[in-house]
Each structure stands twice: as C-alpha cells, then as structure tokens.
C-alpha cells in the first residue's frame, strides 16, 4: 500500500514537472524592445556625468560659451530695441 502511494506521489510530481516545463518556457523579447534597452544602456552613467563636470577645462569652456552667447543675445536685443525706438 505504502509502495503504491510513493509510486503515485512520484508520478504526480513527474506530471507536474512536465507541465511546469511546458508552461515556464523561455520568452524571446521583441526585437524593438531589445533595441530600446540597448539605447537606454548606452546612456552615460551618472559617474561619467560627474567626471565630466569635474573636468574644469571643459566646464570653463561651457560656462564661457554660455556667457558669450547671452552677451551676444542681449546686444542684438538692445540694438533692435534702439532701432525700433528711433523716430522715423
């Protein structure tokens, strides 16, 4: 009787394992999903951004560029304002 119970128990487990193997199958991720993941992974890491900020020469150039751009913009705006206010 006991032997028969163990036999049934093993049989049930084998069936269950076969079903689990049929259910938990490897899923192939869609190709566009893989491409998107690639793009996300290729983004610069936070550490790299910190390193870039710590690069003083580059930081100085960026700061200088922004300031120069702003001065040029203000000059153009002032010139336009001056021209607009000139009496015809």
């Amino acid at each position: 009787m006991k032997r028969r119970t163990i036999h049934n128990f093993d049989g049930e487990f084998n069936t269950l394992e076969a079903r689990l193997a049929g259910t938990l199958k490897r899923v192939s991720p869609p190709s566009d999903l893989m491409r998107r993941l690639h793009e996300r992974i290729r983004l610069p890491a936070r550490k790299e951004i910190v390193l870039r900020v710590q690069d003083w020469n580059r930081l100085f150039l960026i700061f200088g560029g922004v300031m120069s751009g702003m001065v040029a913009l203000i000059t153009v705006a002032r010139a336009l304002f001056h021209l607009a206010r000139r009496p015809a």
């Binding site: 487990f13 269950l16 079903r19 689990l20 259910t23 490897r26 899923v27 869609p30 893989m34 890491a45």
Partner: protein, 190 residues
C-alpha cells in the same frame, strides 16, 4: 563559436575598469536571461523592459565593486534583478494580481484544437498559481524551468545550499500539487 572566444573573466576585468564595450559583451550575453526572469516575476512586458534596463544600469554603475568570491557574474545580476523586482512588488503592493497575459501561452503545433485549448487553459491556471507562490519559490521555479539551472547554480543565486534548494523545490511542488487539487485542476491531460 563566438562563445569560445568570449573570456568572461577577462571581459569582467575590463568592464570593471570602465570599458563600456566589455560591459556591452556581458550585456549581450545575459540580457535574455535577466529579461526572462524579470518578465516571469512581474508578468508584463512594459515593467520587464524597464526593470531589465535598470538591472543593467545598476550593474554598470557598480561593476567595479563586483568581486569574484565564487559567485558567478550571472548570480550577481540575478541578485540585482531580485532586489529590484522585490522593490517593484513593494511599490505596487496595493495593487491586485497582475495577469500574465501579454505573451499568451502557445498551443502545441499539431495538437487537436480542443486539446490545445485545454492545454492553454491549464498553463494559464498554472501560471496564476505560480504567481501566488512566495517570491523565493517563484524565483526557484523560474531559474529551474526557464533558465534550466541546476540546484547548485540556483543555490548560488539564492544564497542557499544545494540541499536547501532541493528541499524548497520539493515543498514548492507539494504546495502546487495541493493547490491544483483544491481548484480541481487535473494535469493528467486526459
């Protein structure tokens, strides 16, 4: 053939020194496995994509901390994935069950349509039961059946001995069998 040329230790050493191309090789090798693990733990493609990306971003940011202490790189990645999935479940704990229905179960080719339908329904019922198991049991089943890992390899990922994994697997099968019985689901296929 490409696998023969891939030296994981060397690639890991280069990646830990900040070589992005070396990390890319590791990414290519493990992306499928991590995606599958996360997909089966979350049950939907959108979150699986997001979490898989976060696993590799975290791995990339901390790879210099990875030290080979007898734990394979894959186990390290799985642990990161496990932690992120646990956080994800914690954040969404108020929400109800998430259906695993984005990639439907595939009918077996050549099967009679009626039998095929029954099989698909059985698989869906089994997936639902698996998703109701405690997280460590879900992880065990995914690693065993989706990734085909041995008990020893699963032990490395789950930080347990081979014997403990074997015991947990046995208890998991018992629990599944009982739940199937409670729901009168017969897996004999007849």
């Amino acid at each position: 053939m490409a696998d023969l040329e891939f030296n994981e230790d060397e690639t890991l050493a280069r990646a830990s020194q900040g070589d992005r191309d070396a990390f890319g090789l590791l990414y290519e090798k493990y992306i499928d496995r991590i995606f599958n693990y996360v997909y089966y733990r979350t049950g939907n493609l959108h979150d699986a994509e997001d979490l898989t990306a976060r696993v590799f971003q975290r791995a990339m940011n901390h790879i210099e901390n990875y030290r080979d202490r007898g734990v394979p790189f894959s186990a390290w990645l799985y642990r990161i994935a496990h932690n992120l999935v646990a956080n994800w479940h914690r954040d969404r704990s108020r929400k109800q069950e998430i259906p695993l229905d984005e990639i439907p179960s595939q009918p077996t080719r050549g099967d009679h349509p009626e039998r095929s339908l029954v099989r698909v329904q059985e698989q869906d019922a089994l997936l639902t039961l698996i998703r109701q198991l405690p997280p460590e049991r879900q992880t065990l089943l995914i690693l065993k059946f989706v990734e085909n890992l041995s008990n020893a390899e699963i032990g490395q990922v789950m930080n347990r001995s081979e014997g403990a994994v074997k015991s947990l697997y046995h208890r998991t099968l018992l629990a599944l069998r009982d739940q199937l019985g409670d729901q009168h689901i017969n897996l004999d296929g007849e």
